[in-house]
Amino acid sequence: MNEITCECGHVNPEGTVLCEACGKPIEGNQHINGNEDKKLLNMRYDGSARRSQTYNRTIVDKVWNFFSSVKVGVWLIVLTLIASAVGTILPQEMYIPPNVDPASHYRDQYGLLGQIYYQLGFHNLFSSWWYMLLIAMIGISIVIASIDRFFPLYKTLKKQKPKRHELFMKKQRIFGVTEADQVDLELYKKNLKKRRFKIYEQDGHILAEKNRFARWGPYVNHIGLIIFLVGSLLRFVPAFYIDDFIWVREGETAMIPGTEGQYYIKNKDFILETYNEDDETDARFKEAIQKQGGPIPKTFQTNAVIYERTDEIIPGKEPELAELKDTQAKMNHPIKFDDFALYQASYQLNEFKEMTFKIHDKGNEDTNYGEFTVDLSDPKNEYTLDSGYRVEIDNYFPEYEMQEGAPVSVSKYPKNPAFVFTLYPPDSQEAETSFLGIGANVDASGENDYKIGLVNFDVRDVTGLTVKKDHTLPLIALGGAIFMIGVIQGMYWNHRRIWLQPKENGVWIAGHTNKNWYALRQEINKVISGTHIQEPRDQYEKKE
């Protein structure tokens, strides 16, 4: 360490630009902040010795200097900004319909642009490695730039003395010389105190300072950002974060995924309400409802019971459940229990629950050779009727569609069920095969004697709930809160200092603020009013 002793006797660390105590420009170090003889002093970080401006030899130095640069930081922000904008040109993959092939979806929907977008991976831009890298680099930059500046600045402001070097005074942006026999310093100090300045005196030199804490705002908000980013990173740790999904049919009780078999949910009822223009309270929306054309949803709600399993969890064993709470999940009002939250996220209306069929003669619908009921969530392989008829389910399509002339199922949910039945009459060896769905009843061979017809069905709703456990939220909230405190601290208060130096026939006065110079000058004018101190000049010359 090559320490520098100033003429005022203060020992400064290597790389200091302005003496920590008296502010005298230290010879040989002025290039660091770009100070020139004829120009005002660059007051950035009060001319303190910053690591990034002092050492540049080893790799560590170079990395440190790279990340501590505000120029680099702004570039990182701008690049992230541009990348984010690109990510909104077309919908991200998570917002395109599920069950479609993304490659063909982007091509079909958006043509060549979509194809390029997909090929470049922009459909998953925000989880791409390079976007994460940009965010990570911003994080590193925040940490390094803050450490590089905070500690030297803190020390310098701690060690500053009221008695300043003349050169320091003259080269402040706000500077004025008063030549007068009598200057009312008592009134000056009184005015300062009234405006809540702290006053430090040394041999008749007066330093008035206020709101130094505003200088720490940027560092506080950077700490908040780092906590926020760490919180987001923790989501990759399973113990901290669970994100699962469950479909529960009305009347069913299901194990809640992600809870390791500990909790169960029963869907008592799913309610979907829409706005009704004829209803008295909704009448005020009449015009909007009519314009919309379709129904506007008012409520999505699941009435549910949450159970906790009380016995030991053994696979295959029927669980013993104790009711935990009888409650509802609505949009904006999730169910909360233990560390978990269940959010109303989706629903299916009128899913088929049961279908009842009867066997009759092909030509006569009034005949009846027996009925059977298929539970669509658990269809059996075959049904033997009391009358001796036997029906086998050869094929079951929960949600069927005809594709290229053949039935296929597009999902496993019984929204549009269809069956291939084989019927074995008791008095015949000949089996008959038929295809049956809603609005379709096809005789496979064309020579069937019997026909199976739908006589009845039951539907029910299905609710879709997201299961969340998120221990990162408190950390993320803390980060956000600290960030806000820091931003407000830094933005809504200004650090202001006014130096006064006694001279033989008058005083010198100089002022500095980290921002809002116009307001500082207004304040100085109020402080000096009646003291015979002359209004200082703003020596700032416009560069452009």
Partner: protein
């Protein structure tokens, strides 16, 4: 209840005209030759502005009572509120710095925004389940207040640019300034065209295939650009000159494109006529009027101060409150929805602005241009993200 919403509408009209009158008084301050001597015109101006603001608050409250929810739930309501917040932010900064000229520019911008808002459906609309939360008005009002304050930064930046750009020769600065002025002209054209044709009850209806289905598409302006493969149904209406390209999706894509192009052409006409009358760049025409009145450093500081005040408010409303609500409604506090991303972009932009200003000394001209860019992003988020890039927030 019907009465209340009628009262509410009238209050909004009243506020609009008060802002207009106040603008003229602020305009009259230019005539006060000596700086800060006569304050009469400015005092009247700010008084009428405050009266207008109170009137608009009256609109807001009565509409809230009539609809039983805070009127910030669709594009009309939100944009109107944004205009109101811009006026509020102007009032606050006026009392810090007392710059009369700020009113001459802030109020017309607010007027344009409110007029623009009323081009969208104004009826009271019901709330879908995800919007039924107190966070609707906590998040939306704070975000809007933040944007309003940040917009004042643009207003001050614009004053700085008009008064300070060297108009003696054509440069990048003069060209971009003309572009900004042209953009404002295009917004005026949009408002004039929309309200004009809607007063005439103009309609032309097309039949066109949308996603394989024949759909009826209604234009409220002459259709220069028809829907792809559309057939004109309305008799006597203008036949489109060209058809919208097929890759544009959505029922209203062609209508929006047509409106957009017509507004751009209308703006071009307005701007062209102005230039012919002025015989020079609009910026060069305006400069002499402002030059004497403007203290560039003061205006620069107002512009910066607006960012300093608005940035925390915006962050709180548009990001933090937004995250809290999103966590409640959609089980995740962040989902990379376009509106969210553009709020983040706005945040990044002003963060860059602050770093450049505080650490790299970007003052004056550069700072003013950044303020203009920031406002561009805010407007993009309001208009383009709602109308073009759709997402969870596109409730308009």
């Amino acid at each position: 209840m019907g009465d209340l919403s009628a009262i509410s509408g009238n209050l909004l009209y009243a506020a609009f005209f008060l802002y207009l009158i106040a603008t003229f008084f602020f305009g009259a301050t230019i005539r006060d030759k000596k700086r800060a001597k006569s304050r009469t015109a400015g005092n009247i101006g700010i008084s009428i502005t405050i009266l207008g603001f109170i009137t608009q608050v009256g609109y807001f409250i009565t509409r809230w009572i009539a609809s039983h929810h805070a009127p910030v739930s669709n594009l009309f309501e939100y944009t109107t509120f944004f205009g109101m917040m811009l006026v509020f932010a102007f009032i606050v900064l006026y009392f810090i710095y007392r710059v009369d000229l700020l009113g001459l520019f802030a109020l017309p911008i607010a007027l344009l925004i409110i007029a623009f808002a009323s081009m969208f459906p104004t009826e009271i609309s019901p709330l879908v389940p995800s919007l039924q939360s107190h966070w609707l008005y906590i998040h939306v009002t704070t975000a809007s207040l933040g944007q309003g304050i940040l917009s004042v930064s643009f207003v001050a930046g614009l004053i700085y640019l008009i008064s300070q750009i060297d108009q003696s020769k054509t440069s990048k600065h003069t060209s971009w300034l003309e572009f900004v002025i042209y953009t404002i002209a295009a917004v005026v054209a949009f408002i004039v065209l929309s309200s004009g044709f809607s007063a005439l009850n103009y309609q032309s209806v097309f039949q066109a295939p949308i996603e394989g289905q024949q759909t009826e598409i209604t234009y409220q302006m002459p259709a220069f650009i028809g829907p792809a493969d559309g057939d004109l149904v309305t008799e006597g209406a203008m036949q489109p000159l060209i058809e919208a390209p097929e890759w544009m999706r959505g029922e209203d894509a062609a209508v929006k494109l047509n409106t957009f192009i017509l507004s751009l052409l209308g703006g071009l006409l307005l701007y062209g006529v102005s230039r012919l009358l002025m015989r020079k760049r609009v910026g060069a025409f305006l400069q002499p009027m402002l030059r004497k009145k403007v203290n560039p450093e003061l205006v620069d500081e107002v512009s910066y101060r607006a960012v300093a005040i608005g940035f925390p408010v915006f962050t709180l409303g548009a990001l933090i409150f937004a995250m809290i609500w999103a966590q409640q409604a959609w089980d995740r506090f962040w989902g990379w929805d376009p509106k969210e991303v553009w709020a983040l972009i706005t945040f990044f932009f002003y963060a860059a602005y602050l770093h450049l200003r505080l650490s790299r000394g970007w003052h004056g001209m550069r700072s003013a241009w950044l303020a203009v860019g920031g406002f561009g992003i805010i407007m993009f988020n309001l208009i383009a993200v709602n109308l073009v890039i759709s997402g969870l927030h596109s409730y308009a």
